[in-house]
């Protein structure tokens, strides 16, 4: 049997790797990839807590389904924005996206 702690530690490490990617990468698409890693580690936590703490209900699974839908919507809009910015400015470096800076 695998204790709950293994899943939680794994998800924490994966979340921090994703956070590092979001904070450090210059390329806006790579930043979105970091966000995907973070969302996946959150989903592992949700399913692990469902399995180990409340396996007779389905609240954790329903929550994870909603996270899947929101992640798909977020990535579609985010990549559309990046492609639109690339059309106008020929750059996807996050530092160059400063047209709304006052």
């Amino acid at each position: 049997m695998i204790p709950l702690s293994w899943y939680l530690i794994f998800a924490a490490i994966l979340f921090c790797i994703g956070l590092y990617g979001v904070l450090v990468r210059k390329n806006a698409i790579a930043i979105l990839m970091g966000i995907e890693l973070m969302l996946n580690s959150v989903n592992i936590n949700l399913i692990a807590f469902w399995r180990y703490r409340s396996a007779d209900g389905i609240a954790g699974q329903a929550f994870a389904i909603i996270v899947f839908a929101v992640a798909a919507a977020e990535v579609a809009v985010g990549l559309a924005l990046i492609i639109s910015i690339y059309r106008r400015r020929s750059s996807i470096v996050a530092d160059d996206m400063n047209m709304m800076k006052w």
Binding site: L8, I17, A72
Partner: protein
């Protein structure tokens, strides 16, 4: 060590190495391919957690849709970042420090929590789990409102993505 634990450790190491490669790889296409490997590892975890349905939708939605979207976006914007020059900004050590501090904080909170080393209880009705989930998502006294909101959100995101990324006609 039971076979489940050995599988867990192997998959965890592969997934974490793939995740580190996602955030450090110079080539964006390589990053996307490492992301696919990492998502596959997470699908294996869903199987280990007795949530096979989630493993299936992980492969279909994340690998089949989102990762392919990433690869297309990387190909559409490829000329600007020619995989030369630094891929991370000058404050990378600050980002690493923040990530490590967060990891230490989470570890401290988890170790002091009582249910940390709990083992999984027996599943009462493993085969009826999926139909139970499906019924809960459409029954009015459970999750029908978040479910319908998610579908409205997906339609709005689809229309918004088409509008934002589409060519503007003169």
């Amino acid at each position: 060590m039971t076979p489940e634990q050995i599988i867990f450790l192997i998959v965890a190491v592969v997934t974490l190495v793939a995740g580190i490669s996602v955030v450090t790889s110079r080539n964006l296409i390589h990053s996307a391919l490492w992301l696919i490997l990492s998502l596959f590892g997470i699908a294996v975890f869903y199987v280990l957690l007795d949530a096979g349905f989630f493993a299936v939708i992980q492969v279909i939605i994340y690998i089949g849709a989102i990762a392919i979207l990433f690869i297309f976006a990387a190909m559409l914007t490829r000329r600007v970042m020619q995989d030369t020059g630094p891929q991370s900004n000058s404050n990378w050590w600050l980002g690493a420090l923040i990530a490590l501090l967060l990891l230490a904080g989470i570890a401290v909170v988890l170790v002091n929590w009582q249910g940390f080393t709990a083992l999984a209880p027996e599943l009462i009705n493993p085969s009826g789990r999926l139909s139970q989930l499906g019924l809960a998502l459409v029954s009015p006294d459970q999750y029908v409102l978040p479910f319908e909101l998610a579908s409205v959100l997906l339609v709005a995101a689809m229309i918004g993505a088409i509008f934002v990324a589409g060519e503007k006609k003169q």
